[in-house]
Structure formats: C-alpha cells, structure tokens
C-alpha cells in the first residue's frame, strides 16, 4: 500500500494502577499518605518501587498503521483494550508509552448523545451535540434538515428531549453523530441503538460513510456487522495486538482463539484484588454428582461450589465469620444479570473457621443457552473488599435436554428464564358465559 498513513502508532501503551484505578488519591489525606509512603520507600530502597500485581497494561506495545480510506474493525473480548485504544486515538486519554501520529481531524463516537440536555429541545440539542462532536455551526445548519429527516423526529424537533421516547432520543443522537464529517471516524458500538429497523438504517449509513473514502475505526461485538463494514481487522487480547489483516481472516482467528483462550469452567483469579486476608481458593460449576463441568443444560439447576480459606489469618481474628460471599452472573457482553449473596434469605453464615466450602444453587430453568461469566466477591459490602475476582469463572448454559417450553429458546436475547407460580381465576361475569 502506497502513500502516507493517516494513523501511525508506535509502541503505544497504557498502564493502569489497579485498585487505585479511577480514584487515584481522591482526597488530600490519601495524597499525603501516598507521598509519605513514597518518601519512605525512596529512603529505604533508593527509588520508589511498584508492585507488579497492581499494574495492568490495558494496551501493551501496539504498533500499527492505517492508510487513508481504510475501514478497520477492532475485535477482542471485553477488557482487551479496544476502548482504551479508541480513547487514546481520539485524545480523551494520553498513552503511557509510545505515540500515535494522526493526520486529519478525528471524530469520536464512543457514545451517542454526549452532552444532550433533557431540558433542551431536539433542535437545541442537535446544535449543542454537533458542537461537542466538533462540528462548526454553519456545518450543522447546512445538515440540519437531513439530520432531522434521518432521525424521523420532525414533528417533535421543538419539544424538549425529556419528552422523547427512548427510541426517538437515540435516533436523534445517532443522526447528529452520523453527519459528522471528519476525515477519521472512531466508533464504539453506537450501532446498538433503537429498534431493528433503525439499526439497519444505521448500518446502511455507516456503510455510506465507509464507502466515501473516510477512514473508520470501528469496535463491535457484532461480527456480522463488522465484516460487512470493515475491510481490515485488528485483533486485540489483553492489550496486545494478536493479529492484523483482512477482516475475514481476523474474525476467523478471533473465533478460534476465543474457544481456545478461555478455560471454560475453570477458576480464573487473574484479575483478583482486595485486602486478601481471606481468599476464594476455588470456584466451580458442578453437575448433580458434584463433578466440575463447563456447562449445564438450561433447565437444570446451576450449582456453584466455592472453597474459601484464610490467607493471612494473623492480620484479623482467625475466622471467616462476618464475611459475605457474592456471586454475580454476567452475560458474555458483560451485562450483570443476577446477584446471589450468602446473606440472602435461605443463605448461610460463614463459619468461625479457617476455611469452608460453600454451595450456591440457582434453581433451573436458569438462562438461555450461551456463555456466561461469574464475578465473585468476598468481603463486607461498602466497607472492605477482601477478595474480589472479576470473571472468576466462565461457564456455558447448554440447550435444554428436556425443554420445558414447546417453543425454541432464542439465544440472541440474553434473558433469564424462570418458572413462576401461576394461577388463573375466572371472574363471576365470565363464569356464566362459558361456551355451552
């Protein structure tokens, strides 16, 4: 490929300090304490040291180039660094290491409707949002009619958006964003708005954008959409660039590694944090016989077994008593679905012992077939995180062996299936009107 790249990234890296993430010394007291400990550390060792456990490289040594007019799909699991990359390219964040050189204006659509104000009318919000996204007033004026027509809100354009239905709101927000005319567009899953019909319209618009010679970087979990829109793909995993090439190849590779990378049904403590004096030693999904399994059929109970132990008992009284265990089941896309807590009614109290085994059973039917993740939390809510393990377990809900419904379960809708207790009564007027 000839010519100068529009984006050239070299050794791009972004580091986070875990635990402190997002709230680095949020009060002066913390800052003084941190400064004091840094000073002490310096006196003792000569330079401040950083415990490697506490550091996460959200992006790790990324080097790539993007040619003008390319449409790039960025693929990877949650936490692979996709959003971090887009945030760096759109100047929201600074990289910790390396650099990126960008030629031209970057429009970032990491969300639709940024800066929308509920009290302002559709017209006012269009101008405001357009300006926030980087459009000039004249540009918005020129495209105003087109935006309104695209959003299908013409009748309500002078109504405050707080009276809009969520569909109308999203349509207008997307319409403004879609008319942004920067040379480079960076898009994060904004397609997931509105009803199916509007989603299709959005995809069509994205297609137009992609075909008009603009450079697009696009994140989505929707492999079908990404293959339709993008010519090239980049696969990220834990901050590293794993593959780059034609979109078809990259998607295939992603699907393959996805299956291989994840130890489904195996306890994974990689992301653990917390004070750590007590720990989750193991966490597994078991079948009726108590054997660890990667998945269970949808109609069966989901039984999780958790082994807890005191890790550093000398710190606090040698007892698990008073701690709470919480298991949160998430969809594969990271949407939290269900929380199970050991203090729930019919829950258990953790014993005054150095270790124990806890069993939590969620009665079936549970979820639609698909992948799910489990986050585990051991501690005292709002007070102390003793051991928190995100993505502690990935498990599968399999197609039912004995379907309890005569209809097919649609796995595209990630919802929970439960059995309710149903009753049916017939009111007096209807009682007499029965068919003879």
């Amino acid at each position: 490929m000839a010519g100068a790249p529009v984006i050239r990234a070299e050794h791009l890296g972004k580091r986070y300090r875990l635990g402190a993430r997002g709230r680095q010394s949020s009060t002066a007291g913390d800052a003084i304490a941190a400064a004091a400990s840094r000073l002490l550390g310096r006196l003792r060792i000569g330079r401040s040291t950083e415990v490697s456990d506490d550091i996460l490289w959200a992006l790790d040594d990324l080097t790539f180039e993007v040619q003008p007019g390319e449409t790039i799909g960025i693929i990877g699991r949650n936490g692979a660094g996709k959003s971090t990359l887009l945030k760096i390219l759109s100047r929201i964040m600074e990289p910790t290491t390396g650099f990126a050189e960008i030629t031209g204006r970057v429009g970032s659509l990491l969300e639709v409707g940024t800066g929308f104000h509920a009290d302002l009318t559709g017209r006012e919000n269009t101008y405001l949002n357009g300006a926030i996204l980087g459009m000039k007033r004249a540009e918005i004026e020129r495209k105003f009619d087109e935006i309104v027509a695209f959003a299908e809100v013409d009748r309500f354009i002078d109504t405050p958006v707080k009276f809009y239905s969520s569909g109308m709101y999203m349509r207008l927000a997307f319409a403004v964003a879609a008319h942004l005319e920067t040379e480079i567009l960076v898009i994060d899953e904004v397609l997931a708005v509105g009803d199916i019909q509007f989603q299709r319209k959005c995809l069509g618009k994205m297609n137009d954008i992609a075909r008009h010679g603009r450079t697009v970087l696009f994140i989505s979990h929707n492999m079908e959409a990404i293959q339709r829109l993008c010519s090239r793909g980049m696969l990220l995993d834990r901050g590293r660039l794993m593959a780059s090439g034609s979109i078809g190849e990259v998607v295939t590779k992603y699907r393959a590694t996805e299956r291989r990378l994840v130890d489904i049904g195996r306890f994974n403590a990689r992301g653990r944090s917390g004070t750590g004096w007590a720990r989750i030693r193991d966490l597994r999904l078991v079948d009726i016989a108590g054997r660890p399994v990667p998945g269970r059929p949808a109609e069966e109970d989901l039984t999780f077994v958790v082994d807890l132990e005191l890790h550093n008992a000398s710190m606090v009284g040698a007892s698990l008593r008073g701690l709470i265990l919480e298991l949160v089941i998430h969809s594969d896309q990271g949407q939290p679905l269900v929380s199970l807590m050991s203090i729930d009614d019919e829950g258990v109290e953790l014993p005054s012992a150095a270790g124990c085994r806890i069993t939590a059973t969620l009665s079936g039917p549970t979820f639609l077939p698909g992948r799910y993740r489990l986050n585990a939390f051991l501690g005292i809510p709002y007070r102390e995180h003793v051991d928190e393990v995100p993505d502690a377990l990935e498990f599968e809900v399999l197609s039912p062996v004995h379907p309890w419904r005569p209809y097919e379960l649609h796995s595209s809708r990630q919802i929970v299936c439960r059995k309710a207790s149903w009753t049916c009564t017939v009111d007096a007027p209807f009682a007499g009107a029965s068919v003879p």
Binding site: G22, S25, I92, F99, Y127, E183
Partner: protein
C-alpha cells in the same frame, strides 16, 4: 487507478503521546473551539432557570434580597459606616461584582468534575469547562447591573467620569475568577476536598473584601495588604466609579499583575494535568 487523496486541503499531523513537563499547550486551540464555547455558555444560560416559576427573575431577586438583608442587618442594626452613601446603594454596588465573582468561582471550581461524563467520551480542550463557568454568569451580572442603575436612579445618584473604569474592573474580576477556577477545577479532579473548601474560601473572601463595610474602615497600616486582594480593588473601584467614595490606589495594579501571573501558571498546571483527567475522573 491512482490513489487520490479524498481531502482537498493539506491536513496537519498531530502527535499523541504522554504529556511531560510544563507548557501552556496550544492556547490557540481554544480559539478553534470558540463556537463550542459559545454553545456551552448558551446552554448553561438556557438551562439555568428552566423549570423555575420566576425564570430569569432570579437573577434580579438574588442580589436584591441579599442587598435588603445586608441593609437591615449591617446597615441598620450594626450601623456599619458607608462613606455617606445610602447603604442599599452602597451594598448593591459591591454585591453586583461580588455575586458574579462568587458564582463564577464556585461553578468554575466544579466545572471539570461536573462534566466527567463528557470528558470520558469526547475530546475538546478541557480549559473550555472553567471558561464556560466564568463567562456564563456574566449574563446575570448584566441583569443585576441594570438593577443597580435603577437603584441609583431612585436615590438620585449620578455616576461620574470614573465610570469608564468599569470595563477594566469587570475584566479584572473575570480574570480573578478564571485564575481561581482554572487552579481549583484541576485540583478538584485529584483532590475532591476542593468541593468542601471552596464555599468556605468564598465566604472568607467576602469578609476580606469591602462588601459590607467601606475600605476606609480598614486601618491605614493594613490598607496595602488589604488591596492586594484583587476583589477588594474591584469592589472599591466599582463603588467609587458609580457612587463615589474612596478609590483603590496603585496597589490594585499589583494585584492585577498577581492575578495574571496566577492565571498563566494555573493554565500551565491545568494543561499538565488535563491529559489525565479521563483517567482520574
């Protein structure tokens, strides 16, 4: 087919890397984003009195009520001297610039943290946030100023030629509010203590400024120190320009110089931190 650049103009290349060292950044970038600045100010004004019965009437009621309270408590009950000016006019002439300054500083110090949602989703020079907070309340200032003129008319007081100083004094109060806001809004991202400290600072600052008492009431030997407070100069200047009384001296020029230096230093501090705002918020 040869590859033709789809862009008619030559595009500049920008290098994105970790910010190091102190600099003022590209202040010209603010100029490029002037339309956004305008839209955000317009939004703040538009939204401020939405869903209130009295609407923009609040811009009149707030200073007038404060003036009435001050007149009753300080003017009548405490018998505060007012350089021979009727106390209502005396306090209103101070409250108009002071209310502007206090509003601008308190909203300015919250401006970055209060916009965390936008900061984590879209880029524009973050300095826009404190600027919006400092420039927005000027509309209320204008309304309150008209009330002050009406009040002077009522008391039959006519301003002299010194009134020409007003734009310069207003500019000084804008710069003071901007300097404070730029520092505090950046500090607030790192230390949320700022939020609790600012109301106290504003309250103390008011007592350190000649709002309820005349500067002539300050002992002579403290006068120089007293006027190092730029708002003391602004308020005393406002009062003497409009209704007469003692006027601030050359020392106000010194305080103006201090304000400009701290504004420039604040902008550099802000610029040093702005790249990390999205991480810290």
């Amino acid at each position: 087919m040869s590859q033709v650049s789809p862009y008619p103009v030559a595009l500049s290349t920008r290098r994105l890397a970790a910010q190091s060292g102190w600099s003022l950044g590209r202040l010209t970038e603010i100029w490029e984003y002037r339309e956004l600045l305008y839209f955000l100010i317009w939004r703040d004004i538009k939204v401020r009195y939405k869903q209130t019965v009295l609407g923009a009437g609040w811009a009149i009621i707030q200073p007038v009520l404060t003036m009435v309270v001050f007149t009753i408590f300080f003017g009548r009950l405490a018998g505060m001297p007012s350089d021979g000016i009727p106390y209502p006019v005396f306090s209103m002439a101070a409250l108009v610039p002071w209310t502007y300054f206090a509003t601008a500083l308190s909203s300015g110090s919250q401006s970055v943290v209060g916009s965390q949602h936008v900061i984590s989703k879209v880029y524009f020079p973050r300095l826009i946030f404190p600027l919006v907070s400092v420039l927005g309340p000027l509309v209320d200032f204008g309304i309150a100023f008209l009330v002050l003129i009406a009040l002077m008319f009522w008391y039959g007081i006519l301003p002299g030629a010194a009134v020409l100083w007003l734009p310069a004094l207003l500019l000084l109060s804008i710069l003071t509010a901007a300097a404070g806001s730029v520092w505090l809004s950046a500090l607030n991202v790192q230390y949320r203590d700022v939020r609790y400290v600012v109301p106290f600072v504003i309250q103390l600052w008011m007592f350190a400024s000649p709002v309820i008492y005349p500067a002539s009431h300050v002992p002579e030997r403290w006068r120089t120190l007293f006027f190092l407070n730029p708002m003391a100069g602004v308020i005393e200047g406002f009062r003497s320009a409009l209704v007469g009384g003692s006027s601030p001296g050359w020392i106000t020029l010194v305080s103006a110089a201090v304000v400009i230096v701290s504004l420039v230093a604040g902008a550099a501090y802000f610029h040093r931190l702005e790249g990390t705002f999205a991480d810290r918020i």
